[in-house]
């Protein structure tokens, strides 16, 4: 797309026309095109500005105030940076960032491994495997709240088939989400289940773009399946895997329904990621100003990672 020549707005009308009348016509056509361009773009961009830029500006403004509905005079800018200072000195905030890093890291690694593994399994032209692939998409498209309910059932000892099975096998265990040491792993498992289809799809798309010749050549040279993957296919799909990981990183920052329903950030803050911390501060405690500042920090992080994606996206295998 990037290599396409710029369309000369008058090119079409100019073709084969020399006279003054035709030139005037060409100018009229160019004007009509420019007008059409404006009318096509203007409604969408103004709505987008209204629903995204205006809230963004407002968020910056509130993040500079200690705004809270219970104190009438709290919309004041005498100490604009206090929310940010408070955030960086708050142990709860700092801990939420670490919980976030842990959760993001674990889930991304697991999703990459599982997604890539299943992609390799399915990467053969076959009707059956195509159907199976569609089946694997189910966790990703389910409403997130339904995913949360599914795992709530799995993690609630009284009704959980998993706990029943463990009792049956003679290895009963306590509730995973009720224990501060295991809760984050329980969330990570559910999140991995929900989102490995995404890395699987990206990996499959990339695998199908790997050219056949180098693979044939390597096979003739006696390379086994492992060597073939490691030295031939992986280098081709590495770019896509990086982009998939970045997408998952950004979306993992927004994780909400699983934590809301399974642990509510607990036990004792063990699963309170930064997004959840902002939610609790804003909507449970009504610290609107402080919550806005945390949300601003999240936006800044997301913006940074988006820049990385648009850089990395250009180097993807899908680009060809």
């Amino acid at each position: 797309m990037a290599t396409e020549p710029r369309l000369d707005l008058t090119a079409v009308a100019k073709t084969g026309s020399r006279g003054a009348a035709n030139r005037a016509e060409a100018r009229g056509w160019a004007r009509e095109q420019r007008r059409a361009l404006r009318w096509g773009l203007a409604p969408a961009l103004s709505v987008l500005a209204l629903v995204t830029l205006a809230p963004a500006v407002w968020l910056i403004v509130t993040s500079l105030t200690p705004l809270t509905p219970t104190e009438p005079g709290s919309f004041d800018f005498s100490e604009p940076w206090q929310n940010y200072q408070q955030a960086f000195t708050s142990p709860e905030f700092v801990r939420s960032v670490w919980v976030q890093i842990e959760l993001s890291f674990v889930t991304i690694v697991l999703q990459l491994l599982l997604g890539l593994g299943i992609a390799l399994l399915l990467d053969k032209p076959s009707k059956l495997l195509d159907t199976v692939r569609t089946g694997f998409l189910v966790p990703m498209v389910l409403p997130p709240i339904v995913v949360a309910i599914i795992w709530k059932v799995i993690y609630t000892p009284a009704i959980s088939p998993l706990h029943r099975l463990a009792v049956f096998l003679g290895v009963p265990f306590h509730s995973l989400i009720g224990n501060a040491d295991t809760a984050i792993w329980a969330i990570a498992a559910a999140d991995t289940w929900e989102w490995f289809p995404f890395t699987m799809l990206m990996a499959l798309a990339a695998l199908q773009m790997v050219p056949k010749e180098p693979q044939e050549a390597a096979r003739i040279d006696g390379a086994g399946p492992v060597q073939l993957f490691w030295h031939v296919r992986l280098p081709y799909i590495r770019g896509t895997l990086v982009v998939a990981a970045l997408f998952r990183l950004i979306d993992s920052i927004k994780a909400f329904p699983l934590i809301y329903l399974l642990t509510d950030g607990g036990p004792g803050g063990a699963t309170q990621v930064t997004n959840y911390y902002a939610f609790v501060q804003t909507f449970n405690f009504a610290y609107w100003g402080y919550g806005s500042a945390i949300a601003m920090l999240l936006v800044a992080g997301v913006f940074l990672f988006s820049l990385l994606i648009s850089r990395a996206g250009g180097g993807m295998a899908l680009d060809e």
């Binding site: 009318w39 389910l142 409403p143 339904v146 804003t282």
Partner: protein, 271 residues
Amino acid sequence: MNSRTVRAWTRYAIAVALLGVVLSPALWLVLMSFRPNSDIMATTLAFRPTLHNYAEAWTGEFRASFEHSLSASLASTLFALLIGVPAAYVLARWRFRGQHQVAMWILVTRMAPPIAFTIPFFLAYTSLGLMDTVAGLAVIYVTFNLALVIWTMKGFFDAVPRSLEEAAWIDGAGVWGAFARVALPLAAPGLAATGILCFILSWNDFFFALILTRTEAMTAPVAIVNFMQYAGFEWGKIAAGGVSVMLPVLIFTVLVRRYLVSGLTAGGVKE
């Protein structure tokens, strides 16, 4: 059977078995929704299926919440298509200064954490009287739907050969005449897929509806969670509600599975 066929069948067997394992948690919920209340705690697979849980779940309030979900998702999808499709066409056909910035803006919109939108919208809706209304919900869904429409539809228009429209121009069609008669019909499958993706994303929303609605515009995902709070964990009813909410999504997914990747990575992958 030679070793090649054996290998192929081993692959099929592993794939199918793995799919069974992966889907089992979701299937368990489906089973639970048909279990009689008397043995909802049981783990046997043999039970007499009943629709009792569905009858319990589908009372007035849940039905209303389903309608709210439906109207908010449909309204937002249609509006986003209406203004997003022409914009996508313009972005696909013409270069102009600031195009890269517009693209980046759309990408960040897709990426931004919902909490960042929710706080300003919450404050604005409280004073505008849009709190707890289906219209308010439809408007906030536009924040992600519009970006999705512009980006995916731009991809579909890029794939329509320009020469066809140029021919229409020479025949005297205006820019939007050629768009309506040539480009749009050719991109129709993409239009359908984009619309369905928008609908699924809106339908699946939980966070916005949790914060911006109370009772009047409560959506189905929030209504199920309310089953947990007020009904003292009636698991059968919760399962039936969950299955009801996921059913439309599963049907639509089968229709748009080919476009899922481009939809979900909208803006991040240069095509």
